[in-house]
Amino acid sequence: MGIIKTKDLIFEYIRRDEEGNVEGITRAVDNVSLKIEQGDFVAVLGHNGSGKSTLAKHLNAILYPTEGTVWVDGKDTSDDDKLWEIRQTAGMVFQNPDNQIIGQVVEEDVGFGPENLGVPTKEIWERVEESLKAVGMYEFRKHSPNKLSGGQKQRVSIAGVIAMHPKCIVLDEPTAMLDPKGRKEVIRAVRALNDVERITVILITHYMEEIIYADKVFVMDNGTVAMEGTPREIFSQVEKLKELRLDVPQVTLLAHELKQGGLDLPDGILTKEELVDALMKLKK
């Protein structure tokens, strides 16, 4: 069984009026069954309102299924006794860099998680050090978080999560508010966690270029999983993605346009290097 598994997952937001009568129901996740393997880098795409955040919040038991089941590392998330184990197994990072950090000093903030878990003091410091090193923020350990850039703050948030030694980290649009450098820093840190520490990564994003190295991509549409495959399989379907209000990386789009312009190029080119190689072959 994978690190994450959902079966026939349904989640409905229920709106009630002042008397408590049901005013409206939004089915945000609609019959999702998926499996994520330990150690994979998984991307979740989908238009605004497609259900990505709602799904993500099920993976560390912030929300519970209306119907169906979610297992994290084999534990059913609706089992209250397992709540803390689940939260520790799957950590979460959100979009806004400014409201996830509570400590006055970077290292203190990163230490909060393990401290709450009751980890012995000496080990807390070891974890803080290794986590900050893993995201390239160790030299800022004595800094005040308010003085950091958005990308640096997000990496501190990520360090705070990995200090809890999770098997899995869920990032919900962590780069949406960042400048290009901040985006790059965060993605580099996340990829390193996956490559080096073998932490399972679930990355939600609207930036297509960020996920070309993912092992697997899920595309959501109106609460359901509309597409599932490798980045190459997914990004080969330019028109379908556009219908789902998405896009492909600019490299892929250019390759697609050139193909339509009559060049003999393979589908689903993902990197600059692939495109340049393919074009130079045509030149000969």
């Binding site: 309102g49 789009l253 600059k272």
Partner: protein, 282 residues
């Protein structure tokens, strides 16, 4: 007619130990009708700069002229200025508050003291301009999608009939289609009305596609101010200040290095397609 910034400096919390210079010697001339992109790392001063243009912030020193008049002179009508220089804040949907979409868009023109008929006509026109269909007019703004909320907030500013429209990161957090829709609508509006548009953005690809002038800020200063192609030719310097060239530009450079004769100043997919097809077919 124009906006002129003359040696503008701005310091947050001046006279305290927290004093922080957010604008340093900014000089700009913004003639009517330009489509301008404003880029820079987080904290470089972009939001501070645009809040000076409609008089929300007052320079610590230096002056800002709108159509020849110093906007910080005593007696200058700031309220009128704010309707002429419309600013859409970052995450403007957090500022929607009326019971329905239509009332929300009426708020600005109502504040200008226009008569009821005119207010409603303007709100209607503005909602149409941003592509919000009639069926949403009497819904609560909170029931709309992220992209729709953003567009309602933009309509609220458009309803004041601004001569200058400033958008502070209008596409942050939107899905790719939502990004394109908003920017396409703004480009179309600008063509129709001739208004000046200033777009603050973190997407190099978006500014490359839409604007005809690009202003780059770094640590409170304007460091480049030119056409996008000319600015992106400095990609190495841009990288040093937390920015980059559009992805397409890097592809063109790589092709050029391998001996394909293409222009490395190209920044968009459309231009790149043409250039590559031409280079390969001779």
């Amino acid at each position: 007619m124009s906006i002129i910034l003359d040696h503008v400096n701005y310091i947050y919390e001046e006279d305290t130990t927290m004093a922080y210079p957010a604008l340093t010697d900014v000089n700009l001339v913004i003639p009517d009708g330009q489509f301008i992109g404003l880029i820079g790392h987080t904290g470089s001063g972009k939001s501070t700069l645009v809040q000076h243009l409609n008089g929300l912030l007052k320079p610590t020193s230096g002056a800002i002229y709108y159509n020849g008049a110093d906007i910080n002179d005593e007696g200058y009508d700031k309220k009128l200025l704010r309707s002429k220089v419309g600013l859409v804040f970052q995450y403007p949907e957090h500022q929607l508050f009326e019971v329905d979409v239509f009332s929300d868009v009426c708020f600005g023109p109502k504040n200008l003291g226009l008569d009821k008929k005119e207010i409603q006509l303007r709100a209607y026109a503005a909602l149409k301009q941003v592509g919000i269909a009639d069926e949403y007019f009497y819904q609560s703004p909170f029931d709309l999608s992220g992209g729709q909320k953003r567009r309602v907030a933009i309509a609220g500013v458009l309803a004041m009939k601004p001569e200058v429209l400033i958008l502070d990161e209008p596409t942050a957090g939107l899905d790719p289609k939502g990004r394109d829709e908003i920017l396409d609508q703004i480009a179309k509006l600008r063509e129709e009305t001739g208004m000046t548009v200033i777009l603050v953005s973190h997407s190099m690809e978006d500014v490359a596609k839409y604007v005809d002038r690009l202003i780059v800020m770094n640590k409170s200063r304007v460091v480049f101010d030119d056409t996008p192609a000319a600015v992106f030719a400095h990609y190495e310097e841009l990288e040093q200040i937390g920015l980059a060239a559009p992805q397409i530009t890097y592809i063109m450079q790589a092709l050029r290095e391998k001996g394909l004769s293409v222009d490395t100043g190209i920044t968009t997919v459309t231009e790149a397609k043409e250039a590559i097809l031409k280079a390969l077919r001779g």
